[in-house]
Symmetry: C2
Subunit: 340 residues, 2 copies
């Protein structure tokens, strides 16, 4: 960032391209093609200040193009449902199982104009969308002229195999892809990105307020250089191994220290920055405010449940990315202590 400040071109201080700095959009196009299997060019990338702003732009753009209903997974971020609702969109739920979202249900809802999915790693259940369903949802969008909003919040963090490519690669004309540096790098950067089909770029950008981009140029130029230098790839590899170890330690601690207990089960793929513990016994989220947690995020699954969900799944969602390395052992102890 110091280098970006020192070397920024003069025009970076002014009003620039509402899509975002071209340096960053070109770096992202190369990175997303290489690392996430996207099919895109810089012209299809819209820089935004994070996934929240990205979804807001998408939601109001969809409304402007006549969409009235966007299906969402029956468990997901309530803030995302709120963003869609505030834009004036209805958000019917689609069921989840071990193969991810039940894509076959989409055909039964003739008013749907879009669906919001977390195909690589469902949040919060932790499953991946089955390959047949990946093909089916792209086929649905193609047949119906609908949009798939792909939230690839932690797609780089798969621990058992090479990450599955983004769904966008299967149907770039039907998918709006959302990515963010908030999980892979740091939320304080306020850098996220949308990858938008040609025919939607103009309407999405217009939602920014017609004339402005929303992200400071230093962060954009720094991120562009970070990607192009290879430092971002190295950072992802380093963090992938750290998060894998944390996840293994978390599971080991729980299985060893609650021996034979039927009270805890862990759901989801070896991936991402969170695990879902089902049947968590007396672990309740009220405990999560305790200092011992050291920024472990512990939330009841109910917080993420769609009001119309009929699932009887219960549990707590534990996000393990935020504690500092020195705080991690203590945070793990505090969590496991409560499970016993």
């Amino acid at each position: 960032m110091r280098h970006a400040v020192s070397t920024a071109p003069l025009d970076a201080f002014g009003y620039t391209d509402p899509l975002g700095r071209v340096e960053l959009r070109e770096a992202l196009a190369r990175y997303l093609t290489r690392a996430r299997g996207l099919r895109t060019r810089a012209d299809n990338i819209v820089v935004c200040s994070g996934a929240a702003e990205g979804l807001r732009l998408v939601a109001t753009a969809l409304v402007e193009t006549g969409v009235r209903e966007v299906a969402v997974e029956e468990f997901g971020l309530p803030a995302q449902r709120g963003t869609l609702t505030r834009a004036g969109l209805a958000t019917p739920a689609i069921a989840l199982d071990a193969g991810g979202a039940d894509i076959s249900a989409l055909d039964g809802s003739p008013n749907l104009g879009a669906v919001l999915l977390t195909p690589s790693h469902q949040f919060p259940l932790g499953v991946a969308l089955h390959p047949d369903r990946r093909a089916a949802v792209v086929d649905w969008a193609r047949r119906r002229g609908a949009i798939i909003i792909e939230d690839d919040h932690d797609g780089e963090f798969r621990y058992d195999r090479t990450p599955v490519g983004a769904l966008q690669g299967l149907g770039p004309r039907h998918v709006i892809y959302m990515g963010t540096a908030s999980k892979s790098l740091a939320p304080g950067l306020r850098v996220g990105w949308l990858v938008v089909p040609d025919h939607m770029v103009e309407v999405v950008v217009r939602q920014k307020g017609e004339t402005e981009e929303n992200v400071g140029f230093v962060n954009q130029l720094a991120m562009a250089e970070f990607i192009d230098s290879g430092a971002y790839d190295r950072h992802i590899r380093t963090m992938r191994s750290q998060y894998r170890r944390r996840r293994e330690q978390l599971i080991e601690a729980i299985t060893q220290r609650t021996p034979g207990s039927p009270d805890v089960a862990i759901v989801g793929l070896p991936a991402g920055l969170h695990v879902l513990l089902t049947r968590p016994g007396r672990l309740v989220s009220a405990d999560a405010g305790r200092p011992a947690w050291k920024r472990l995020a512990v939330e009841p699954l109910d917080l993420f449940r769609h009001p119309c969900s009929t699932s009887d799944l219960d549990g707590v969602v534990v996000g393990f990315a935020s504690p500092s390395p020195s705080a991690w052992p203590g945070a793990l102890d505090a969590l496991v202590g409560l499970l016993q």
Copy 2:
């Protein structure tokens, strides 16, 4: 900015206060109290990525509180009207004269929930809101429980006297004040601010997407330090004298080089970063794309006219802030050449 990068606290990299960094909000509270006569504390300041995002937050917050109509001045930024319209608000026009917006007209519109004004320096006509009308609009807002949105886009730049204080100082419970570093410093920073009455802070912040702020921490911390060190005040003083000189040179060039011509008149206070030329003869905005303009902004007044305006005023609006110092004389020559 280099210093801000080097000294940023660790928590700045994470999700922080959705209102914005407290360092910046405290610096702004002190600055706005001192320089613009606001009555505010850091708790009432919401950092945003510029005036466009600020107005979007205000517009959707007003809708959420039940507002359906926001009056706007009969000349103003079409992007601002667009932001209000997209949020679902009707935008009836109020007339302008030498005393600014005709505040007495507000009482005739019982459905108004708010009014958007540029009281210190009307954009684009360049007049100031008359002191009696300043009091009257605050009184109207108080009686009706309405909100005044004060766009203080260039309030620091008054050349004939100390700038008039912000309207917010007359009625902090009824005014949402919008400010930006885009005109005083640089658009590329993407730093703006709202000053919001206590009872509206929560609903305004919620429009950001509930959990996130939108501005990178480096820009916020750099801006905070820039203000607190006194460098921002010095910068404003320097730019005020540069812009005053440009405005004088522009007027002098026009009056000297179009002698006795009834074709050009200059409207508006000695203030701000633009002048309105009425009866501009054969100067048309199509000329503005010429390289000789060197980033002079020349726009027909019609571009800013509300569809329901009954004014017969005509002219072109010339923004003179953007040309570099070395490009300025050539840009001025090109403009005046066309007026002759």
